[in-house]
Assembly symmetry: C2
């Protein structure tokens, strides 16, 4: 089968065998925001056209491709939801290459104060990791928009998004904080840890952010470590605000997952990484559930 994780900034396609193993893959910077309305069919044909003869079935997609800016808007499902409900709510598109596309819906919920929250794509990653997660878990999916997802009895109960990764990028590239630093490398673990520890101190995140500048100015953090220090401050604030009351399972790219596990441990929260490529695995699971429908 063919599975596509089509997000805001990237397009990742996978050819999978009947057991869900990855046979081939394509990853290009053709995210939803880079494609004009009406242009999705052509992008898909260009990127996976070579696989179509070998893969005669339906194609499964997740991520921002199901948003208002995507190919077809598939409405958010309100939490709590289980994977069966997600499978049934997939949107369909009849692609002019003679194939049916299934687009996984995103999820919505409201926080304790009634403010809405949304995800598109992470629900598929969670489905892809459901065996490792078990039915009862707190899952962190770090990234541009970090998610904390609470699961009970294999259902997604609710979740919270933090703008952490996007704040990091905007401040490093477009504020005074990046001016003293070297390239956007976050490999300095001493500086990263110092940032995580700083997030426990008083006077708030906005004050701690100015300290990235002053500690650079006073040469207390080396220029090559300032991006790591900033990253540690932001991730530390995210973790302490999310304040998970039980061990956390972390799903993400290997380097970011490693950093997050390090930060969780430093904040006193037990954390374990979930290995593997959860997006294609989740799309494979959804395809299998749909079974005859394809």
């Amino acid at each position: 089968m063919i599975a596509v994780d089509w997000g805001t900034s990237s397009f990742r396609a996978y050819r999978l065998d009947a057991q869900g193993h990855i046979l081939d893959r394509r990853s290009v910077a053709r995210g939803v925001l880079t494609v004009d309305a009406g242009g999705f069919a052509d992008v898909l044909a260009k990127e996976i056209g070579a696989w179509l003869d070998a893969e005669p079935g339906s194609i499964f997609l997740s991520g921002m491709i199901g948003s208002r800016q995507g190919w077809k808007e598939v409405p958010y499902l309100a939490c709590p939801v289980d994977s069966g409900t997600i499978v049934k709510a997939c949107g369909t598109v009849d692609w002019d290459r003679g194939r049916r596309l299934f687009i996984v819906p995103g999820l919505s919920c409201r926080d304790a104060h009634g403010v809405p929250d949304v995800m598109r794509g992470e629900e598929t990653q969670i489905i892809g990791a459901i065996e490792e997660l078990g039915g009862h878990a707190v899952v962190c999916l770090p990234g541009t928009h970090s998610k904390y997802v609470r699961m009970r009895d294999r259902r997604i109960m609710d979740f919270t998004t933090h703008l952490t990764g996007e704040v990091f990028g905007a401040l490093w590239r477009h504020s005074i904080l990046g001016r003293l630093g070297d390239a956007e490398a976050v490999g300095d673990e001493v500086a990263f840890d110092a940032g995580v520890d700083r997030s426990a101190e008083g006077q708030g995140l906005l004050h701690h952010l100015f300290g990235v500048r002053t500690r650079g100015l006073f040469a207390e953090i080396p220029a090559a470590g300032l991006a790591s220090y900033l990253s540690g401050i932001l991730i530390g604030h995210e973790i302490r605000a999310a304040a998970p009351s039980e061990p956390v399972a972390v799903i993400g790219g290997s380097e970011l997952t490693r950093l997050y596990c390090r930060a969780f441990t430093r904040c006193g929260v037990p954390a374990r990484p979930i290995a593997g490529e959860t997006a294609p695995r989740g799309l494979w699971t959804i395809a299998r559930s749909l079974g005859g429908a394809t």
Copy 2:
């Protein structure tokens, strides 16, 4: 006399009479970061050359012009300091137009956890407002880098900087948050108040920032109000983290001061605006103190 408030992004010059009243002014976008090293003498000549015949005395400057990126680095004075110490520590430059320039030093301190903090320019504004402030005050100077300054017996004891204004600009212009909104207008008071109130709720600033996107997406805040909502969230978080334990005097541009006073009131902190142009007033006070030295 001639007074110049020369900051990071703007150059503001004033001609003052013997009582400190403003006779004339120049304001141009020739901040320190827009001028190459060695170019400051020419910028000054171009902007205030026409005043030199009428003003034969020394010229007084404050702000980033005294930083490492400025005309001459004048070292930070460590708090606590009084205005007499600041006056004595002014740096001097002999300008090739036959005038002596006095550059006001910036201040430094360390917060309760030993992290350094710095200001350049705000110390002069405080000196300019000293009569209205009295000797005992908490002063907020809102802006790109908002300051909270604690004064006792007419001395600046310590202060705290928050990156609030710069975070607002970086996120509005360079993140997903600005995409749903209209122009960078912060005049929607209902949305601003909603943001200030939101800052009291749980799960932290990074989660509240994502809510700017979702409340826009769900049309709970109108597009024209999203910048105000973001501004309210950030200013609210700043105020609650700074948590002043006594009434606050706010020094700044009139619109920003009004917004901050509104937010302080909403957070339960009594606040009053300090009117008038405190930078030229402070430079005039410093010049008068130096007296015979000029």
